[in-house]
Amino acid sequence: MERRTALKSLAVAAGGLISLPGWANGWARGSMPANGALLTTAQNELLAEFVEVIIPETKTPGAKSLGIHQFVERMVTDCYEPAAQESFKKGVGIVEEMAQISYGKPFVSCQPTQRNELVTKLSTSADGGQKGFYSLVKGLTIRGYMSSEYVMTNLTHYEFAPARYLGCVPVVSKAVSEKK
């Protein structure tokens, strides 16, 4: 008990005394990953625009507003090997670099058509790392989107407790998402 109290007061003291070393003065908002996160806030914002290219907003929400980029980062952080996490981080960097080279501005500041062009370029890249990044993010985006509350509730009409199994029902020609 005493030890915990001691640690607590130490933390308070440290909070009051915080001063950054010189080399850290350049840190801007979003330039450091939050506690335990793989990407910086800025990189996460890039990822949000990237998944939005994969599944854009139409008359229904796209991947960004459904928070799929958070899901993608969470999955890579918790469920993938360190090597895959590194190539994921590297991939985000490459996207940013490509945006700078092609359009002279950050990916998030590019026009939707420009972003789409960059993502398409990645998807057809001969570079295994670039293509791999695209496939990884796309796969997880699809998974996050299809298992999102919005899609399962409004578009694919998931039944949590169907209370039945009917073995032989006629095929309905209408697509699932049209049933409204």
């Binding site: 399962m152 169907p162 073995g167 032989c168 006629p170």
Partner: protein, 575 residues
Amino acid sequence: MANFNIDVKAATTYDAIVIGSGISGGWAAKELTEKGLRTLVLERGRDVRHIADYPTTMMQPWEFEHRNQLPLDVKKANPIISKCYAFYEGTTQFFVKDAEHPYVQEKPFDWIRGYQVGGKSLMWARQTQRWSDFDFDGPARDGFAVDWPIRYADIAPWYSYVEKFAGISGNKDGLATLPDGEFLPAHQWNCVEKYFSQQIAGKYKDRHVIMGRAAHITKPNPIHMQQGRAQCQHRTICERGCPYGGYFSSNASTIPWAMKTKKLTLRPDSVVHSIIYDEKKGKATGVRVIDANTKQMIEFYARIIFVNAAALNSNLILLNSTSNRFPNGLGNDSGVLGKYVAFHNYRGGISGEYDGFLDSTTEGRRPNSPYIPRFRNVFKQETSGPASRFLRGYAAGFSAGRSSRTNQEGHGVSLKENLVNPQLGGWYVGSHMMGETIPKESNYVALDKGLKDPFGIPQLKISIDYDENDDKMVKDYQEQMTEMFTAAGFKNIRVRDDHRNPGLDIHEMGGVRMGKDPKTSMLNKWHQLHACKNVFVTDGASMTSTSTQNPSLTYMAFSARAADYAVKEMKKQNL
């Protein structure tokens, strides 16, 4: 002081002790308490109360942070339990993590365990097929293990007894090889399953595809409503615990039922160290328990003891119960304790496609699937043809479903539209085998001489392997199912042998086998230790052979039958 000791002893003395609260321990508890015995149930794991302690049961798919995938650190810390099909983000709380209870793998063995009130009855696969005399006859007819001391007639009324209470769905199929039971309405077939069943019936007189008998309340009877259980809602997330009590578990059924008698004391966090044997009295007098929280050893006393710790842990407890009279484990005069352990061979599988019935599909979900009872070497051991190459045979699960395809090309608006407009594909079909393995002296468990678990109890050393008979059976299953799939017009047939480790079937059995002769077996026909009659073992450890049925229903019937006998013997002052 003397009075104080007497009081302590009285406070820790019961009429009966049941070790374990899983599927068989729950039944023992229900039967003994209903018959008026003050019963102490010792459970090594924590308490899991029905509904209140099912934290993920109402969680929607999107509420799982990793959409039910296991995080990498969980997988890396738990290479064994992570292999289990039912271990995922929503169920990790119900399985024993690898480091919790270490054991020695003299040969690779995936020991899948659930340490909590309810044990594995919370996460089981709920298939409940009866044995017939073609199963009980096996060892005697084919000359392996020892003859079972019971036959179908001994157990049939107890099957009926437990089925009515547990709630078993199924059809009356009229098969001698898989006797009918007391069934609630069966689950539906889909078109392709029905078609396959008809094709097989037309082509083979001895092969049948039936709807699996499963412990699901498809239509509750008053006895189920009295338990507070309701109709199964087809959610098919049973292993997270069911708030409706739609499938049978100790938690939903037998334990609360026993609790209502006011005769039950349920003591979770109680790791049984050993059974106390009194040489003067010539019987067991109680149980040594290590309290999982305080690590203190406590003794409890009773006139009879039921050992229902799950097959291998029941072996472990008896092996660790040594005395001058039984230096090699309680009741182990024969030296067979821990030996002749067997399991079910799940290695073989097959898949295929069918391009008929394209105008039909399915709706909803089904927590069950069709079943193919054993058809090899059933009525006699074949002396020619492929089935003559091996002893015994296999049952099989079978199911069909309509696939759907999604065009996942590219990205953008077209991908988005395609994703929510899947195209119906053809039907897929699949099956897996459940092969009988032959109990052998060389497949055994024993106490490790040096290594201890975190409670200071010797670790269990497991030495169990496949043999040539199993390999031949996998091959025959693949050949016969290929023939049957081909005959039904299924295409793109692919067979597999996943060479999984024994144990992953979660059907380990034996080691404390029943038999007529105390020289070659541990238990008599009433599940009593031959050499210590007030100790009963009614879980998987008591199995003399494995046959091919999912075994839990048989353990339920064993437990109810043995409890009935035990109470009668107590009344006659024989125990």
